[in-house]
Symmetry: C2
């Protein structure tokens, strides 16, 4: 696409259309794999289009865009978006502010806004001929070391085998999570931790993800700290419910010290700021598809840098989502780790024609191309589109748009 | 309804049906009045029914109940509810835990859960022949002093007139909010504060509600503290975005000291706990229609009591919502203030046959009757029901149920 030409002929763009698409695999399983469906957003303005992805339940996310107004602070997200100017980064910030001012009582709004904000940055980058990270103020993008996310095996023996395989496939950083951990004794958990470390070898990064399984229970978490320290866990992720600041800070101060990672559940900037200020994290993990997009994620990255807390993306789906999640900290040289979707479902792979692949050093770097630098593969998506229809008082207020 | 008889014949109840109703006024205006529509929930079990109300956008709230599963932690709220046992309070807690465990990536889920939780307490109270506050462990319910919520006038003169009228109608506590405040100079705001105090007289409680208008801007808030102190404001409500803990705590520690009130935007227990722990509030305001229902609200009330922070309900809609919002702190004698919907839309008034009215001392008390102690007025609701229909892949997954 010739972005420069479009820049010249569209010096005063306004948002012309916002389309939501619900995509899914033929079968959605009851497993911790968020790549089984997708909520894609297409924004059009000035002859260009941008794409974004909400890491969110598609139907409620779409409903939050099209629903009737309840009152002045509970309007559909569309109210803050449609017809708004889009010519510079400040315009995207204003759209986010308008959505918050008019929809703050609509809980799902931030998840809906996330995909829109991402699509707006993609579109603006295409218009201005710049990668998003440059529009965010970064001079260059630094390579990141991708980590592979795995489920723990059902037994320590199976965890060991998985670790060996991960290392063999070239990953220098591996995260194990969910599965049996946190559901049995501390001794069983410790056996899994040791199996993971033995399989990976001493020099790989090993992260452990609890998926909030301990709720707010600091005592049960403390019982696992020594074993985590023994295997040199790089971080302990989401031992508790997102925003359980008290439990997080208590565990962070417990001996032996293990650095905590969390934040993927934050759905706006102030929640992430609260986690940075009070949870005593070593790592803040942000999903641009949930926090309201790239705009608030960049604020979090700036705050994290100022506080010496490492920023990490949270991404489990497509390379569109991956590019969006990398942009907010692409230019932070010190923050070297990134989450990388290792085994997403075919749907997630089919969303883009191009992929963000590890280089010969096993590192990845965000595309050096306008916008998000990934192209959405329209034809392939048609196989996954779910026909959805919402009627209120007999009127059709949502119908799956044409791709 | 003969609750005792039903108790005997249904010693092992399970949830049989959960029905959502979208109700609204013929016209919904762009004003700060949350009573213009409603999301009602009816739960049936063992020949009884309970009712609840979500203080939430109806369509996304319903969508969160019926949507297809996205993955193991992003299931529809229905997954955690339908068919579950309902015989004692612990069963309601388990339902909330199950919803959180299986739907924590579905942002709207807590607003959906709120009405369900309320309906479950109503139903269980009817089964056991007890008011909800007794099931929560309170021996008795104490009277509360209702405060009337008003918008500021467009000019200080109009604010003065409104204050005079409020006082004349018998209220000993009045809250002014929104409108022009926070949008002009500190001097203009101060003139409104003085007008409100002069109109009310020196002995009335005067509360000021900013409706989050200052976002995270501590400096602009500080400029108003002296004027708020001069008029002896009982509290300053929501100067900032919900969960903006840093700004709240900074303002709370600024001189002159004005006690802060906030929390209505919290959609789960841990958020409210974070506000209690770090925002340095004088008052925590909880809407049972948003926080996930009566169950988490009671936890917040217990925590607030332990910390010496005053608990206040947030209620702007029906007497069903009012009863639900009063139950969690009905037995806390010291927390004497309650929000009372003074001028709700006719829809909100028509939801229940009986009302919670001020006594001869101008005080209100939660009904001493099984469950929530208010009866839903089915016939009247028919005029407000919105026909809604959601189809996914050609299948009808939601249709407004018969009342």
């Amino acid at each position: 696409m010739d972005s420069n030409r479009n820049t010249k002929i569209n010096s005063n763009m306004k948002i012309e259309s916002v389309d939501f698409f619900y995509l899914r695999m033929p079968e959605v399983l009851d497993i911790g794999d968020g790549s089984q469906d997708a909520t894609l957003v297409r924004v059009r303005a000035g002859g260009l289009e941008g794409w974004g992805e909400c890491e969110a339940a598609p139907l409620p996310t779409i409903a939050a865009y099209v629903c009737p107004m309840s009152h002045s602070a509970c309007k559909p997200v569309s109210y803050g978006v449609e017809g708004m100017p889009l010519n510079e980064p400040e315009d995207i910030r204003k759209i986010g502010q308008k959505v918050h001012a008019h929809s703050f009582d609509l809980l799902q709004a931030d998840h809906t806004l996330s995909g829109i904000d991402i699509a707006l940055w993609d579109l603006l980058g295409k218009k201005l001929g710049e990668p998003v990270y440059r529009l965010l103020g970064y001079k260059r993008a630094y390579p990141k070391t991708p980590y592979a996310s795995q489920l723990f095996g059902d037994t320590p023996e199976l965890t060991y085998e998985k670790a060996v395989q991960s290392r063999a496939s070239g990953y220098r950083a591996v995260k194990f999570g969910w599965g049996p951990i946190g559901r049995d004794s501390a001794a069983v958990d410790a056996a899994h931790f040791r199996a993971a470390r033995e399989g990976l070898g001493a020099d790989a990064y090993l992260m452990i993800d609890l998926g909030t399984v301990w709720g707010e229970d600091v005592a049960v978490a403390r019982e696992r700290l020594a074993a985590l320290k023994d295997v040199n866990a790089y971080w302990l992720e989401e031992p508790f419910t997102n925003m359980a600041l008290g439990p997080y800070s208590k565990l962070a101060k417990s001996e032996p010290r293990v650095r905590l990672a969390a934040g993927e559940g934050c759905n706006n900037y102030v929640q992430a700021a609260a986690m940075l200020d009070y949870a005593e994290l070593g790592f803040i993990q942000i999903d641009t598809g949930r926090i309201g997009g790239i705009t608030p994620a960049k604020r979090v990255a700036d705050d994290a840098a100022a506080k010496g807390i490492t920023y990490v993306n949270h991404t489990f789906t497509s390379h569109l989502a991956l590019s969006a999640s990398l942009q907010p900290y692409a230019g932070v040289k010190e923050d070297v780790i990134c989450e990388y979707p290792v085994e997403p479902k075919q749907l997630a792979l089919d969303i883009t024609t191009n992929k963000i692949l590890p280089d010969e050093n096993g590192q990845i770097v965000v595309p050096d191309a306008p916008g998000l630098g990934v192209d959405v593969q329209l034809e392939a998506l048609k196989d996954y589109v779910v026909d959805a229809e919402i009627r209120i008082g007999g009127s059709l207020i949502y119908q799956t748009p044409a791709i």
